[in-house]
């Protein structure tokens, strides 16, 4: 089997050159290199914007196709298409600062998304209460206690200050800062190493995120 960079050498060469120029422009203060780096980034932004348009058109095409499949699906697709057309016409014709356009955002988009978030909250609470029923173990118990302590420490209990939980210098706050920061830094280091390795593999043609 051929290596990845030999299967499509042209695209691999483009990836290699652009990646090296952007990377060198990030570290080296050289004006032509910086200029080329910026051009490449602008092209990437332009391509991403075009991809967004393509995604929107693909979404429209899928829902347009569903109109002829079944009446039950056609209802939702018809609702989507109607909302999309009205929002585009409203923002394009009246402008984004028009009160009607803002009303669509304030009274349609935000309440719907907030309601979904509330559903998630109720579902998480329900699952948490039945955790011990399905998995009665030490780890489940530790997880449950940690959640409870975090919630208790986040709010004052009707004006009652618990010494070990409330306050900046409390034991729980110190543990949360140290343990939380340590864990997150470990995750960030892992993400950084993974990004570097992935970047090197892309630069050397071993990884092909742009496809074969």
């Amino acid at each position: 089997m051929k290596p990845a960079f030999l299967r499509s050498p042209f695209s691999t060469l483009i990836t290699l050159l652009t990646g090296l120029i952007v990377l060198l422009g990030y570290f080296l203060d050289f004006e032509p290199l910086r200029e080329w780096r910026f051009r490449f980034l602008q092209w990437a932004i332009l391509l991403a914007a075009v991809a967004l348009f393509l995604g929107v058109f693909n979404l429209l095409r899928v829902h347009w196709g569903r109109l002829s499949e079944s009446p039950s699906k056609a209802v939702y697709s018809l609702t989507f298409l109607g909302g999309f057309v009205s929002a585009v016409l409203m923002a394009g014709w009246l402008g984004i600062q028009h009160s009607l356009t803002r009303a669509v955002v304030d009274y349609v988009i935000l309440p719907i998304e907030a309601s979904l978030f509330v559903i998630i909250l109720v579902t998480l609470l329900y699952a948490l209460t039945r955790l011990l029923q399905h998995r009665l173990s030490v780890f489940s118990f530790v997880f449950l206690v940690t959640v409870l302590l975090s919630l208790i420490a986040s709010i004052p209990l009707l004006g009652i200050e618990i010494p070990l939980l409330h306050g900046r210098d409390s034991l729980f706050s110190i543990a949360l800062r140290i343990l939380g920061t340590a864990g997150v830094r470990g995750l960030l280091i892992g993400v950084a190493l993974g990004s570097v390795v992935t970047g090197i593999r892309v630069l050397f043609g071993l990884e092909r995120p742009h496809g074969d």
Binding site: A44, A48, I96, E113, L121, Q133, V184
Partner: protein, 708 residues
Amino acid sequence: MEAQRCPMCGRVNPPGLEVCQYCQARLKPLWVEPPQDSSPSIEVGSTRARTPSASNEPLLPDWLLESRLDLGGESSPRMSEQDDSEQPLSEEASADEERFGGLFSDELGETEEDVPEWLRSLRDESESDQGVTATAAIEEGSEPIPFWLDFEEGKAEESPSEAPPSEKVLPFHEMPFEGLDLEDESLLSEITAEAKPISAEEPQTVPPFETLEPFLLEEQPSFPPQEQGVPPQPSASTLQERASLSPEAAEDWMSEIPSWLDALPGQDWEEGETAAPETPPEFLEGIVPPFVETEEELSDIEFPAWLGQIESTLEPQLESLMDTLTPAETETLLQEESLGEISQEQPAQSLAQEEIPVEVVGPLHGLRGILPAEPLVAEQKKPSKALSELLVTDKQRAQAELFLKLIEEEGKPKPMPSPKRARPHILWRMLIFFALFAGAILGFVQPQFATPPQELSVGVFDAMQAVNQLPAQASVLLVVDIEGQDFAEMQATTAAMLDQMMIKGAFFVLVSANQSGALQADRLLREVSRLSGHQYQPSSGWVNLGYLPGGVAGMQAFSQSLTEVLPFTIDGEVAWQNDRLRNIRTLSDFDLVVVITEDSTRARQWVEQLKGHVLESRLLFAVSAQVEPLIRSYYEANPRQIQSVLAGIRDGAIYETQTARPGWAMKLWGAYTLVVLTAIALILVGSVFYAVLALLNRPQAQGEGKER
């Protein structure tokens, strides 16, 4: 001329025809036997003088004919010298030699030197034996000599002067019955006694090809003896018949030319020489003569009565029918008749050809009539029983049985175990929802149930310092990457800080890496301005640059040159021509950069891409409570990578408390506190209830597990 009657079918043919027009039999014999008186019979030892004609030559191959002609010139003088003494024998021998091209001749070119020693010794022995033993036995008369041993003696006694003893053995010269006195009754009785058992056993004789393979027998019809010119072998009855003949008749029979040989071309007789009259055998006497020459002879024949009736009825009809036919029709009928005979023979031949086995394997594949040697060669032998039996121990046998049992069980269909699904406790879920909803409503309506946070966190303190250090009419970049579901939390988190900025008359530049972030940013400033009592409006209070595509690449390009990446506002106006933004060319030109996001990944990307383009002292992060652990690692780093972090409603409420301007965060704080308290209570109650339920059901569950 008179009409001719066919000797074969008995039908009348017109005069002048040589072949019967009905059965194609010859009407006239090839030669007519002369009367007994005019033509003496040919004696034994004499031969018909034939002209050495070239008509016999087609029988011989060219090479043999040439050699014979070459040798003929040498032999002719010797033949002339021996005319007086050996004329009968030499003439007949020469005739035979001509006929067979000298194949049996030992005179031409054969000398004592050419004869091999083994043949010479055999000749000497035969001469001595014949000269001593045979003659002595006859003279003594002690024992009857078989007739086949008496040939030479009789011949010597009968014609001692005609033919001197010669070493030559000619197949057509020395007759097997020559010299026998066939009138001797004792000899005849002996011959008949030997012939009778043969005739008696004739019906019981085994067919000569019975032991042969069937496919060999099937080949026989394709090579009839008549076509190869080989005379048929005389049967036992024929031999008996010939033995019963008189000596003269026997001589005639021996000297006569066979019919198959007589049919050959060139059989011309000399003038004055006629063949001996053909005498029918005794069992055919009085029935039908083989050839009838005249009507008188035909009238003398007595046909059966039934044959006479048929003849009398069919003959007129056939004659009338033949009279109506034209010669062309007659010829057509003859051709059709010949074709019919051929077509009747073809199926038989094809059928016989199909019955011949065809080889199907090996290099002779496709050939027909191959000897079936393969079944014998490839005969399979049954393997010995000892090799086929395995030596299996009891343990191995038990394991094999267990393995077979497992395989059988795997092949059996098993009912699909119903997935153990927890029954949905709708009542419990409804209770959770209504409890949270009631706590939120009660906390929002009655905020006094919740105690406002009094402790000042480090992040809030640093943020307050950064805002307080802003100059008047400062330019602030707001990166708003929030979704609609988190808008309320982020508004509560940033409301007090934005209020302080608006108090200082800051000018905001809005940008978002989220598709709906631009609208959320616009709404955020509107709500903060409305709730705080400011008169901030677009264009005068902020510029919305809209959506920044490209993800991390867009952030990097925006950090490098924001004016080139986003030159226009969301309304399509030139962004950087605003009076408040004339001095803005890079990110470092902003007095403060605030990133507002609830997504941890997005927060990390902005930290990484803004690094180096914005001073750490001018970079603030207002994030959701869930992002605080991640962004705190950048905040608590040494040196700090960001100036401050505002996380969640709690920090927003603290900020408002510290600024003494209660706002959106404090309104939500009561509801938030009661909802969290309700959630804690529900978790405790529910966990204890279901834990007890699980403990009660554990023995039952263990029993079900054992049953499975």
